[in-house]
C-alpha cells in the first residue's frame, strides 16, 4: 500500500507504561476510506493505540501521522484543531456529559465550534439523532438511558461535526443482539455514506469481520497480521488463526507473564 492511500501512518513507534513495553517498534498503515478493525487479546493496548493516534498519549519513539500531520509533535493548538477537523472518537462508555440532555450533548460540539443559528443546530441535531434512531429520546438525561442507547447518542455526538476519521473503542461490548446488529450496520453505512476512515477496536471477531475491509491483529507489542479478514483466516500464521478461531491454547499466551506456576506456589513467603 503506498503512503498516499494511508490516512494514518505509524512508523517505528514504541510505547511503554512503567516497565511494561506495550508497543515495540511497530509500523502500521490505516488505509483511507476503509474500515480497519484492530483486534488482539485483552491488555495488548488496543485502546492505547487509539489514544496514541488521538494524541492523548505520547509514544516513547517513532512517528504517528494522521492525514500527514505528525501527532506527537503537534502543539496544543494545532492538535485541538486537527482533532476538531479530522477525528471523532466513540468511547466504550459513551462518555456523555451527565449534566446535559441528549439533545444538548449532540449539540455541544456544534455550539462550541460553529456560530450556526439555533434553528440550524436543531435541524442538525435531529438529523444525527434520527440516524441512530433516538430522535424521540432527545429530552432524556444520560442517566435515563441504557448502555446501548448512551453509546448511540455518543455516536450521534461524534458524527455531529462530520469527522473524516472515526475511532471506535469497543463499540459492540455489552449490546443486546438488536442494538448490536444495528450498530454494526450503522458503522458500515456511516463509513460508506460519508467516505470516512474508520478504526475499530474490538474483541468481536464475527462482527468485525462482517464489516471490516482490513483486520490488524496485535499481540505482545507487535503487529502479527494485517490483511483482509478472509485472507487472515485462510492464510494467516498459526498465531493469527488461533485468535480468529478463538482457540484457548496456542502461540498467543493466555497468561500474563509470570514465574512458573509451581515455583510461585512453593515459593516461601518471607
Amino acid at each position: 500500500m503506498s503512503n498516499e492511500e494511508a490516512f494514518v501512518s505509524i512508523r517505528g513507534m514504541s510505547f511503554s507504561r512503567g516497565n511494561r513495553l506495550i508497543y515495540d517498534n511497530i509500523d502500521l498503515d490505516i488505509p483511507r476510506g476503509k474500515v480497519t478493525a484492530i483486534m488482539g487479546p485483552s491488555g495488548t493496548g488496543k485502546t492505547t493505540l487509539l489514544r496514541l493516534i488521538g494524541g492523548q498519549l505520547l509514544p516513547d519513539r517513532g512517528t504517528i501521522k494522521v492525514d500527514g500531520h505528525n501527532v506527537p509533535t503537534l502543539k496544543r493548538g494545532p492538535l485541538f484543531e486537527l482533532r476538531k477537523q479530522t477525528m471523532g472518537m466513540l468511547f466504550q462508555s459513551g462518555a456523555l456529559f451527565t449534566d446535559l440532555s441528549v439533545f444538548e450533548n449532540v449539540a455541544f460540539p456544534i455550539r462550541v465550534h460553529t456560530d450556526l443559528p439555533e434553528s440550524m443546530i436543531r435541524d442538525l441535531v435531529l438529523m444525527k439523532l434520527e440516524a441512530v434512531g433516538l430522535r424521540g429520546a432527545r429530552r432524556l438525561m444520560p442517566a435515563e438511558l441504557s448502555g446501548g442507547m448512551a453509546r448511540r447518542v455518543a455516536l450521534a455526538r461524534t458524527i455531529a461535526l462530520d469527522p473524516e476519521m472515526m475511532l471506535y473503542d469497543e463499540p459492540f461490548t455489552g449490546l443486546d443482539p438488536i442494538s448490536l446488529s444495528v450498530t454494526v450496520k450503522l458503522i458500515k453505512s456511516l463509513n460508506d455514506a460519508l467516505g470516512l476512515t474508520s478504526i475499530l477496536v474490538t474483541h468481536d471477531v464475527d462482527e468485525a469481520c462482517s464489516i471490516a475491509d482490513y483486520v490488524c491483529l496485535l499481540s505482545e507489542g507487535k503487529v502479527i497480521g494485517f490483511d483482509s479478514p478472509e485472507n487472515l483466516i485462510k492464510n494467516g500464521s498459526e498465531q493469527v488463526r488461533q485468535f480468529m478461531q478463538g482457540e484457548p491454547d496456542g502461540p498467543v499466551p493466555f497468561h500474563f507473564p509470570a514465574d512458573g506456576f509451581s515455583t510461585d506456589l512453593f515459593k516461601r513467603v518471607k
Binding site: G54, Q56, R76, F80, E81, L82, R83, K84, Q85, M87, G88, M89, F91, Q92, S93, A95, L96, F97, T98, F108, P109, V112, H113, A154, L161, L167
Partner: protein, 266 residues
Amino acid sequence: MGLIDKLLSQVRYIGQAGLERIQGLGRAGVFLYSSIAWGGPGSAGFGDLVKQIYSIGVRSLSIVIVAGFFVGMVLGLQGYTILSDFGSEAALGTMVSLTLIRELGPVMTALLFAGRAGSALTAEIGLMKATEQISAMEMMGVDPLKRIITPRLWGGFIAMPILALLFSLVGIWGGAYVGINMLGVDEGAYWGNMQASVSFYDDVLKGVVKSLVFGLVVTWIAVYQGFDSMPTSEGISKATTQTVVVASLAVLGLDFVLTAIMLGGV
C-alpha cells in the same frame, strides 16, 4: 551492608517523595497558568460562569449564613464576658465587627467553602475524568481547561468575597442579638462604636483582598486535585480528602502571611 542499604533506601524514598511534591507543584502552577491564560471570566460563555457562581456560591449560602450567625453570637458572648471585666461593654460592637471583618469572616468562610464547594468540585471533575467526559471533550477538539476549569476558577474567585462579606454581616447581627437583646449592651454604643472604629480601607477592603486570595487558592486546589486524580473510586475519594486538608491548611497559612503583610510587620 544491610543497614547501609536500608538507610540509603530511606534517603532515596525521602528524595523521591520530595521530587514528586515539587513536580506536583510545578504541574499545578502550569495548570493554573493555562486555565487563567485562556482569558477572562466569560471565555467559556457567561452562561457557564453564572451556573458555576450559582453552584459554588449560592449553594454555599445557607451554611455560610448559619455558621456566621453562630460565630457572631459566640463572639458577642465571649466578648461581653471579657470586656465587662474592664467595664467596657460598649466596645463590644467594635470587637465583634473587627474580629469578623479582618479575620474570622474571610478565614471561616474559606474553610467552610473548602469543605462544601471545594470537595464537590474535586469529586465532580474527578468523576468527569473517570467517566471519560474529559477525554471525550479533548477528542472533540474542545479544551477541557477552558471549558471546565476556567469558569469554575472564576466562579470561586467571584463567590468567595461575597460569601465572606455576608458571613461578617450576619455575624455582626448575631453579636448584636446576644449583646443588645440578651446581655443588655446599649444599642447606640454597639452600632456607634462600630461605625467609628471600622475603616473601609484598612478593615473591609483588606478583608476582601484576603478572601479574593482564598477564593482563588481554594478553588485552584479543588479543581487541580480533581483534574489530577486517579480516575478510580479510591483515587477520587483520596483527592476529595486531599482538597479539604490542603485547602484548609493553605488558607490558615496564607492568612498569617497576608495579615503580616497587611499590618506591615514583615
